[in-house]
Symmetry: C2
Amino acid sequence: MDRLKILNLPAIRRFPTYLHILKRLDTSDMEYVSTAELIDRLDFEAVLIRKDLAGLGLKGVPRRGYPLKALINAIESYLGWNKDDEAFLIGSGALGHALLGYEQFSDRGLKIVAAFDSDESKCGSEISGKPVFSMTKLENLTARMGIRIALLCVPWHEAQQVADQLVEAGIKAIWNFTAQELDLPEGVICHNENLMSSLAVFSVKMKSHFND
Amino acid sequence: MDRLKILNLPAIRRFPTYLHILKRLDTSDMEYVSTAELIDRLDFEAVLIRKDLAGLGLKGVPRRGYPLKALINAIESYLGWNKDDEAFLIGSGALGHALLGYEQFSDRGLKIVAAFDSDESKCGSEISGKPVFSMTKLENLTARMGIRIALLCVPWHEAQQVADQLVEAGIKAIWNFTAQELDLPEGVICHNENLMSSLAVFSVKMKSHFND
């Protein structure tokens, strides 16, 4: 995928912020958005904005700026957020519970359609309108519903074993919210969401800032 | 802070994973841990491990490896996780609720001591053993308890206004879990936890991987 090589990871991480701003502007009658308006709302440098948007193949129109709807479409299409991918969530503890209620995901192409839990007492219930199934149904439902994506929210010491089950069931992409690094076969991608790594960065920033 | 310049951000993000592994080894009688054992458990390259740990000022002992307890202490001390910082959590919705139950924080120097919510019906209750207070008590309690850190978990459209209140109350470091970029005065640091940025990276990875 050439664009992934051309655009760097920081740019990809910035696109949701662009979208957030652009979609708020799109509720007005605005047809074009200028770089100055983007700078004002984003606090990014002009050169960075131009570079990010040029990476999408978009150029501003002199004295008008970027066509708003085309810009939104270009970002959504680049991220694949213009179409829905269905996903399962595994482990309906506190974090899983919160993520099931996160409506932002479905606006961004990721539709969590069901949760799974090894605790049979939770099965049969609903969380934020999504059914909770027993892990024993995972393989069957993954195949039947053609699901390729799973959000993994189990305790870390169960993570590898559950990941093995996911792979066995046919899952091809895992968003890993546990602290455990996963050992996965080729052909299965993993995206680690390690809150502790993020806390480490915050802690070092604070240590430097507070200087105590 | 010189070390922050010498060690790069990716190394800082890896340290919690080292700690996670090292603390599990520390429950046995092991005195030294070899690079080979770390590679086996971490799936990092030998050269990366040596570089990360050298950045902490640690060298391995030939044929024995790194002294386990000293290594744990060095990482914790580097991150500032060897002492507790108390923090408030603002906004006890689904995500706030999940974070209040996150015991990993307090093992890593971040002790959430109370939550605040603008919904008066929640105030007076407890979540995961932590009291929920009214936002009207924020300023008084921040000063009285000497709190400098806040986790911001309110809806994005309230984020800036609540951040202003936090700054007014004396908060000096904000871990921002909202999608809103915050405009903060100098002297207040912000660490953005933007799940949508992370989803963007996951989405682009998937688009490239699934190729559809």
